[in-house]
Subunit: 221 residues, 2 copies
């Protein structure tokens, strides 16, 4: 049985969940309180990070390495094109969301507002929250610029790039931190990806003490 | 002509430089004062990050997307195995160095000590430097654990994983922040990679105001 050790509001876990689900790989989800660093969990990943995926007799970590493995071994449906230039563009956008977007927005907004309280790491730093809230605008505008001449973020088909972006935006939407009115093109794209069967699990997530807003699971938001 | 816009002490630029050089792709290196955000540079990469690679009529960013593209289009010599499990292991280690190692060590040590001064971002925070200096020990021990039963970090052949790791360690070695006595296995591995022709350019780097220690370019360190 394939098992994913995850945290509901981790965008990296969500990227892997979307990929597993889109590829119809039946997976048992185990919620991991990774900040408690239980001996069992540290045995699975000494770095103490989620996601950790148990599949094909392997225990895997690092979300992008996991997604590339799933693409190599479970190629249908494909989430990475075959043309090297198109593959590059997908990986560029994945890197942009996993690194820059996450660091400039998700860590500052969700990390300060929710993760800190959840993990007992102290009180939010309002200066950082404000920086993140300002910065997300630039990134929504950049997404709109990409979507202006493409159906999906990296081109005309849905790829890992869309999952990497939707993973970050969906956790920020859980804390009502995405202004969907700013860029109608980005809202249309999110509505399209939100209505996919692979997204259902994410929309059912509930974190105790932090209920999502009503629009979070609404396909017509 | 292939052009790489880079900063000498950026580990991500170094990972790409090693890959280009190992694949014998003749490249013109242009040093970029990325923190000055010149209009020309922002046109090449609106995010204002290095490396930026101009190749095959494309302007590319995001170091890992660049390395995967180079592997797709210039497969000789190969830096990524063909077996999916081995590919996973390479990408896991690349992710580990690009993300965790960089965030826990390089940003705190080199970022505080050198990058801050270089870019005019203020004075080093000695608490962060201390955290990084403590944390590198854990990572050197983990590398020793990997190298205990492998010739290279991800297996028996040299791969992108070795370049990702050597890129981080080489910038820390530039500021004398690697204790090579701690793990002889790691020192042997670094001696091996340091003696490759692809490494020569890195060893010739000089940052004005921050001369490297004598052992930095010494193959017999």
């Amino acid at each position: 049985m394939t098992v994913l050790y995850h945290a509901p509001l981790s965008p990296f876990c969500r990227k892997v969940r979307l990929t597993l689900s889109e590829k119809r790989i039946d997976t048992d989800l185990q919620e991991e309180r990774y900040w408690e660093k239980s001996p069992d969990f540290l045995r699975r990943n000494p770095l103490g990070k989620v996601p950790v995926l148990r599949i094909d007799g392997l225990v895997m970590s690092e979300s992008q390495a996991i997604c590339e493995y799933l693409e190599d071994v479970y190629p249908t449906p494909s989430l990475l094109p075959t043309d090297p230039r198109e593959r590059y563009e997908v990986r560029r956008i994945v890197g942009y969301f996993d690194d820059t977007f996450h660091r400039e927005v998700t860590v500052k907004v969700l990390g300060e507002r929710i993760t800190k309280k959840l993990t007992g790491a102290g009180y939010p730093d309002s200066r950082l929250v404000k920086e993140g809230v300002t910065r997300i605008k630039v990134h929504l505008d950049y997404m709109a610029h990409l979507l202006d001449h493409r159906r999906w973020l990296a081109g005309d088909v849905m790829t890992l790039a869309d999952f990497a972006a939707a993973a970050q935006l969906s956790v920020l939407d859980y804390s009502s931190d995405v202004d969907w009115h700013r860029q109608p093109g980005v809202k249309d794209w999110y509505a399209k990806i939100k209505s996919r069967p692979a997204f259902r699990g994410l929309l059912a997530d509930q974190v105790v003490g932090f209920p999502p807003p009503p629009h979070y699971a609404d396909l017509d938001f």
